[in-house]
Structures are given as structure tokens and as C-alpha cells.
């Protein structure tokens, strides 16, 4: 396996892009990433997306995005892993370059979610769950997280507001991110009063859905040496799966796939949670942040929420998360999210994170979760001098 670097990044601000279609969003992100890398043409394009078939009635995104990005002719394909689709695309691109099959590959995550009514989007997202035995009973994706959160609070004795700091921290960090959807701080009072969606999950526990597209260019380390930007390598890329349905889990409150993919990633990068400088986790819901921190070894079981309560997740804390706003406040264009996370990690490692820059960071971890923990993809990025 060859060392692989991220040599270009490109992102569209997350939001409601009424004036842009799926193809325009994707093509623009790819174009920006290639510009950043100063590379004209990759050998392949891997597109991550979850909902285009359901919401835009458009599939065959590999060829579509390639064509509109001015890359007609290159090999291109779409991969899907629910909300982890973008990290899945990145991992496929990584494997191509690491394996020596290709030298320059672009991974792009794209999602268009605002072209349809809210209940339609809710139903489309529920397709990430078990259609015959969860969605069939009226469980939305938020509902499944409600089940997780209720049980977590019951087993470990937390109040709903104990998890508020996950949302508050994300919003505070998004204020300084020009690509974030919600650049506004929120208060504990606002969290406590927010509208219930699927109790105990309220509006401010959950990430906002939106349109977005983000892309990265991968190349072998040797090729990256020629470029002017600080060098960021992919030190680990690891994935694992679990049952789709919550009722099929052997242990409801453990994200086993998150644990397994993180452990594989630590082994690949010869590191451990104590050495990770920051963690772009999958904060689609506050309960998922909690469970992810526990599964990845940043907190003991039942103690993930404590990290938030004790402010250890802030930019100055022991393990900063959502440093540019996370899914919660940057916004969560589901099939694009995984690459936004990676781009934000690259920005931190390059020293391009502006007001939210973490001093002297070297190792950043990203984790993209598809379904309620069914498909989990973890990457560790490293600044190499």
C-alpha cells in the first residue's frame, strides 16, 4: 500500500440552494477541489450520495457529475452507505490510490434535499433504517434516535438538557465557518425550549438537513511533495458494519461498528485516542455524539455525555469535536457530510481553519455514520512535515 495524501479540497456552503441542481452542486465542488490541487484531470471520480434516486429521481451520478464537471470520459461511479456515503466514496478513492491502481482520484459527496416536502424527506431518510420492521411501524430516523436517547438517559441517569452542550458547542464553532448553514450561537434556554420531534429528541438535538457538495483530490505522497500546500496524509481508513435495525443489536447502547472501525483505524495509524488532537464526529443527533465518543475510546461507557457537560469537547477542551460546526450547525447534507468532515480536518491540519484554528494539531480523526450506527467509516488524517 502506498501513502495517500489529500492534495485538494473544495466545498459549497451548506444551505438551501434553490438556484442550483444536484449536478451543479457536485460539479462545482469537484471543480473547486481540482483548482485547489492545481490538477486538471483525475483518473477517476467516486461520488457519494444517498437520496438522489428518491428525491431528484436521478441516478447514474458518476457519469452525470463527471460530465458536468468537465471530466467526460473518466471512470466514475456512485457509492451509497446511507449518511456515510461520502466517507464510503473517499474510502473507495483511497483504496484505488493506495493500491497503486491510479494516481489521482477525486471523491465527491453531493446531496440535494430541499427539492421536496418535509414529510417526503423524512420518509426518504427512513430508508436508511430497516424498511420492513422499523419504518413500517412509523419510526422515522429521528424516532430511532429517540429510542436510543431515552434508553441512554434511563440507564445512566441523565436529563435531556445534560446533552445540550453538544449542540451549543457546534453552533458556537459554526459562527466562524463561512460554509456553515447555521452561523448563530444558541443558548441553553433555547435548547431546553426547543420543539420536540421524537421525544426526547428535540429540534436542537438534531442536525439540519440541507443541500451541499464537497470534494477532495487524492494522490500518492510522492506526487504531493511537489505541491505548495502543507501535506496532509490519510494515516488510516477503516470501515465496519452492524445490523440496520436497532432491535437486532446485541447491545443497544454500544455502536459496535464505530468501535470496530475506530480500533482498526488506530491500529493502521499506530495511534490511540490519547494522541488524537480533534475529532470530527457524526453529530447528526446529540445521542450519536455521546455514543460515538464512547465507542471510539474517548470516554468510558455511560460517560460520553460527561465530556460535553464538562466542556471537554470545546476548541480548548481535551477532545475538540465539530470544530467548524459539525453536522449540527454546519448542516447535514447526508450523502455529502463525510467529505465536509474530512475537508474541515484538512483545514485544521493545514492551518487554514481561521478563528477556530487549533494550535499545533497533527492528528485529526473523522467518523461518518450511516443509519443508526449500521455503517461506520473512520479516517485518521495526519499533517506530515
Amino acid at each position: 500500500m502506498r501513502d495517500v495524501c489529500i492534495v485538494g479540497i473544495g466545498q459549497i456552503p451548506v444551505g438551501e440552494h434553490w438556484d442550483k441542481s444536484l449536478r451543479e452542486l457536485g460539479a462545482e465542488a469537484v471543480h473547486l477541489a481540482l483548482l485547489d490541487a492545481q490538477i486538471e484531470r483525475p483518473e477517476a471520480l467516486i461520488v457519494g450520495n444517498m437520496l438522489s434516486g428518491q428525491i431528484s429521481h436521478q441516478e447514474n451520478l458518476g457519469a452525470l457529475i463527471a460530465d458536468f464537471a468537465g471530466l467526460r470520459g473518466v471512470e466514475a461511479v456512485k457509492v451509497e452507505a446511507a449518511c456515510a456515503s461520502a466517507a464510503a466514496a473517499l474510502r473507495q478513492a483511497y483504496l484505488l490510490v493506495a493500491g497503486g491502481v491510479m494516481d489521482v482520484v477525486v471523491a465527491c459527496g453531493v446531496e440535494k434535499m430541499t427539492d421536496t416536502a418535509q414529510d417526503n424527506t423524512t420518509a426518504a431518510l427512513a430508508a436508511a433504517a430497516d424498511a420492513e420492521y422499523e419504518s413500517e411501524h412509523g419510526l422515522s430516523f429521528v424516532g430511532l434516535n429517540g429510542l436510543l436517547m431515552q434508553r441512554y438517559m434511563y440507564e445512566y441517569g441523565y436529563q435531556h438538557t445534560d446533552l445540550a452542550n453538544f449542540a451549543i458547542t457546534a453552533h458556537r464553532n459554526a459562527v466562524n465557518n463561512p460554509n456553515a448553514m447555521f452561523r448563530k450561537a444558541i443558548t441553553a434556554e433555547a435548547f431546553a425550549k426547543a420543539k420536540m420531534i421524537a421525544s426526547p429528541v428535540c429540534l436542537l438535538d438534531s442536525a439540519g438537513i440541507a443541500d451541499g457538495a464537497a470534494a477532495v483530490v487524492l494522490a500518492p505522497s510522492t506526487l504531493a511533495n511537489a505541491l505548495a500546500k502543507p501535506k496532509v496524509c490519510i494515516a488510516a481508513s477503516a470501515a465496519a458494519t452492524d445490523s440496520l435495525a436497532l432491535h437486532d443489536r446485541h447491545d443497544l447502547l454500544e455502536l459496535a461498528a464505530a468501535r470496530i472501525s475506530a480500533q482498526k483505524a488506530y491500529a493502521q495509524a499506530h495511534t490511540h485516542p490519547g494522541e488524537i488532537d480533534f475529532f470530527e464526529l457524526h453529530d447528526a443527533f446529540t445521542i450519536i455524539s455521546t455514543l460515538s465518543l464512547e465507542a471510539c475510546g474517548f470516554a468510558e461507557r455511560g460517560r460520553g455525555a460527561r465530556l460535553a457537560m464538562e466542556n471537554e469537547i470545546s476548541l480548548q477542551g481535551r477532545i475538540p469535536i465539530a470544530t467548524m460546526g459539525g453536522l449540527k450547525a454546519r448542516g447535514h447534507p447526508v450523502g455529502a457530510t463525510g467529505i465536509y468532515q474530512v475537508i474541515e480536518a484538512v483545514q485544521q491540519l493545514r492551518g487554514e481553519a481561521g478563528a477556530n484554528q487549533l494550535a499545533g494539531c497533527r492528528l485529526g480523526m473523522t467518523q461518518n455514520i450511516g443509519g443508526s450506527g449500521a455503517n461506520v467509516i473512520t479516517h485518521i488524517l495526519e499533517r506530515v512535515s
Binding site: 420518509a123 422499523e134 412509523g138 429510542l147 431515552q150 434508553r151 434511563y154 436497532l246 432491535h247 443497544l252
Partner: protein
């Protein structure tokens, strides 16, 4: 749910038919033919009693398509007496009265509005075990 899918899953939806693994004796619901515990084939039919307790629950205020008319409704994970968890709605109970550990039993109910193929979907829901039937059970 499509007509074909409705027909295919009728036994589990209407009478909680699952499976038992002949190798490790784990009981499986919904049926899946391959045991997730030991990896062996598990096609022996097993009928669940329909008795259990609430393991977790959520009150749905915003519903997916097909369920909008029912809000707010309570969806739950039920820990069945025989072991497995099952996802279902609770019925004949209000959000104020439900609690983790509440004894419940299976009933058959209409679960959503007319779906694909003009089909009315019937399936299991769970309701609190009635007080007198609990006393009867205790007396036995």
C-alpha cells in the same frame, strides 16, 4: 408496504412467528434464516408469546409519510419474554403513562394508511397488560 411484501411477512406481522436456532438455541425475531449469534442456519419456526416489557420508547411528533394523521403516537422497543427486542407502536396508552419496564402484550392493529397497491396494513402493536389479566397470571 407492497402487496407482495405484505403477503411475505404475514406470519410474523399477524402472529409473531420467528425462528429458533437449532445450534445455539437463540430465538430470532424477525426471522432471518441465518443465526446472527453463531452463523449457523436457523429455519426452525418459533412462535413468540406476544408478552414483554417496554425497553425504550419515543413519542413521535413529526411523522414520516403515511403516519401524519396519527401524531402524536408512541413507538417503542419491546423486550419480549423470550429474549429478542421488537420495534412496534404502543396502543391504548398515553405518553404520560408509559415507562421503561411497563408490561405489554401484542395485539393486531391497522398500522398505517392505505399504502402502495391500495393496501391497508395490519401488523402488531403492543398494549399495557390489563390489570385483571396480570392478577390472573399471578394467581396461576
Amino acid at each position: 408496504m407492497s402487496l407482495a411484501s405484505s403477503w411475505r411477512t404475514r406470519k410474523q406481522r399477524l402472529s409473531l412467528k420467528g425462528e429458533i436456532c437449532p445450534h445455539c438455541r437463540e430465538k430470532l425475531f424477525p426471522p432471518r434464516d441465518i443465526c446472527p449469534y453463531c452463523g449457523g442456519p436457523a429455519k426452525t419456526e418459533f412462535a413468540f408469546s406476544g408478552k414483554g416489557a417496554v425497553y425504550s420508547y419515543t413519542t413521535m411528533h413529526t411523522a414520516p409519510q403515511g403516519f401524519e394523521q396519527q401524531t402524536p403516537y408512541i413507538a417503542a422497543l419491546i423486550k419480549m419474554t423470550e429474549g429478542p427486542l421488537v420495534t412496534a407502536q404502543l396502543t391504548d396508552v398515553t405518553a404520560e403513562d408509559v415507562y421503561i419496564g411497563m408490561p405489554v402484550e401484542m395485539v393486531t392493529r391497522r398500522i398505517s394508511e392505505e399504502g402502495e397497491d391500495g393496501l391497508i396494513n395490519y401488523s402488531f402493536k403492543f398494549r399495557p397488560v390489563l390489570a385483571n389479566s396480570m392478577q390472573q397470571a399471578a394467581a396461576r
